[in-house]
Amino acid sequence: MREALAMAELALSTNETPVGCIFVHQNTIIGRGMNATNASYNGTRHAEFIAISDIFSSTDPEGKKKYGSKVLKECDLYVTVEPCIMCASLLRQFGIRRVFFGAGNEKFGGCGGVLNVHVANGATELQGEGGDGEDGAEKGGERKRHEDDYEVSGGWLREEAILLLRRFYVQENGRAPEPRRRGKEERVVKMDVEPLVEGKKKGG
């Protein structure tokens, strides 16, 4: 997680949303990524995509690809913020083994925040009441494991991840579309992070 946070710091220093990640294969970091949506003008260049590109483009001294197409099935991801729905699906389709994240992501989260893509591709169980029908995020309990489901564990170095995000959001994102900007001028970084409410923690 420290390594992932270092990537997020790097993102912050280059005016990107501070999210960083690393992929670990057999105790070795084989890919690093940080959010690059602003530099690339591409809203899909999230840290996970950058790191996966990094993995599959790395070559050995003879110029051959270092990692086979199935390497992610033996990898764990450490990421400072819960993967968004897009990245959660990316990871699922590549067959990631496990995901550890810092801060939850209530806006876009694909591993509990909004959808549970890591479990049954987020399929909503239509039987039963299931709360509001809005989020089924915290039903916990045992579920049937589906192929390509992966383990998720959140809250790791969460405070640091949140503080990085807050430092970013007090800056102005000059490229954000007009209607979504309001009242950033007076924002200051709040330094206290509310503790994680029990039951909000995403279990594996």
Partner: protein, 382 residues
């Protein structure tokens, strides 16, 4: 749920059709809220208060349950007179008090029974009302979408208000206006997407999936990126392939990289064939110097562009479309097992319009009316 297009049909009489633009109909997708929980009910506590104490009682409740405990009750009248509620509600009251509701009393919705216990409510209300009677009834959980529905619900459950809007999705007038704007061109862009899809399959680059991104200026669409699936390029042709090379992601990257085809089809096709063979992984997504920011409508990502897809995008690509701030998505084939856009597929995500996400767009399935060539559908992620 799956429509038409099972198995392969062949293109029979393409030449007999004088107008080259294929015809079809646009079917607006339903949102998650429109498809789910429409008739669902909510248990709420109701109490009676003397008219004179009504506002005081409501104040107590607002303090006790700020924001009604997260449940939206805006479509229900908060207070109701005895004669305005259905018999069932009056009977529930009389069971609780063994007395008829007085003319100077009002019934008041306290809140969801999940949000609070009746004992707490009774205690808090005791400063206003002595021995408040609290009972529970069922009310519609979500707002009605027509006056008829509101009237029906008012007679069945509780006085319900229709607010002349669609709280569960895009406003119907916006959807129909946009359909007017695009419907004459959909066939053309879908043909182009199908063409590049066939190329992707024919060259072995990927699945038979194609995408066209269109920018609309003064009502006229111009293609700005065309991409086929490329998941097998440099990858073993089994399993999921290179997930980052799905057609939608590639097309979005092209817009970002400033790859702009002109509306001339010759040049478009050059761009197509060049892009299909282009390796997906670049060492560095640099090289944006030539990207003309003013070229896109708002200069931000794919803001308000249109994306035409042969297949319903997978969950990843659907969310990529949201992150890129597209204005419209139109696809031909539903992908019930893997698609992220439909709310009534197996996954039920309905990502194009969800209140909790910070972007919404309009979405349609396009159903080709002419006997065009259709693709065999499998369960892959498009």
């Amino acid at each position: 749920m799956t429509r038409e297009t099972k198995g392969k049909e062949t293109c029979t009489n393409a030449k007999a059709v004088p107008d080259a633009t294929p015809k079809g109909i646009l079917v607006p997708l339903k949102t998650t809220l429109e498809t789910r929980a429409r008739g669902s009910l909510l248990d709420v506590y109701v109490t009676s208060v003397p008219v004179k104490q009504a506002s005081g009682a409501l104040e107590v409740i607002r303090r006790l349950l700020p924001g009604d405990g997260g449940v939206d009750l805006q479509h229900l009248r908060r207070f109701a007179k005895a004669r305005d509620v259905p018999d069932a509600v009056r009977e529930a009251f009389e069971r609780a008090r063994v007395e008829v509701l007085g003319a100077t009393e009002l019934l008041l919705i306290v809140g969801s029974t999940n949000a609070i216990s009746s004992a707490v409510v009774a205690e808090e209300l005791s400063v206003i009302v002595n021995d408040a009677v609290i009972f529970s009834i069922q009310v519609p959980r979500l707002a009605p979408t027509s006056q008829e529905q509101a009237t029906l619900w008012s007679s069945q459950y509780w006085p319900t208000v229709y607010k002349k809007s669609n709280p569960f999705g895009p406003h119907p007038s916006i959807v129909s206006r946009t359909e007017q704007e695009i419907h004459g061109e959909v066939g053309k862009w879908m043909d182009l997407a199908s063409e590049v899809a066939r190329q992707a399959d024919g060259t072995g680059s990927g699945e038979t999936v194609g995408v066209v991104i269109v920018e609309r200026k003064n009502g006229i669409g111009h293609p700005v990126a065309v991409a086929g699936d490329a998941r097998w390029v440099g990858w073993p042709s089994k399993g999921a392939g290179n997930v980052t090379a799905h057609a939608a992601l590639r097309a979005i990257a092209m817009v970002a990289d400033g790859v702009k085809a002109t509306s001339e089809s010759a040049q478009t096709f050059n761009a197509v064939s060049a892009s299909v063979t282009q390796p997906e992984f670049k060492a560095d997504p640099a090289d944006q110097d030539h990207f003309d920011l003013s070229g896109t409508v708002a200069g931000y990502l794919c803001h308000d562009l249109e994306i035409y897809c042969t297949h319903e995008p997978c969950v990843m690509c659907s969310m990529a479309i949201l992150h890129s701030r597209f204005g419209k998505v139109i696809f031909q084939y539903r992908m019930p097992k893997t698609g992220g856009m439909c709310a009534d597929g197996d996954l039920g995500h309905g990502l194009f319009w969800r209140k909790e996400l910070n972007w919404t767009l309009l979405a349609w399935q396009w159903i080709r009316s002419s006997n065009g060539q259709s693709f065999e559908l499998a369960d892959f992620h498009a």
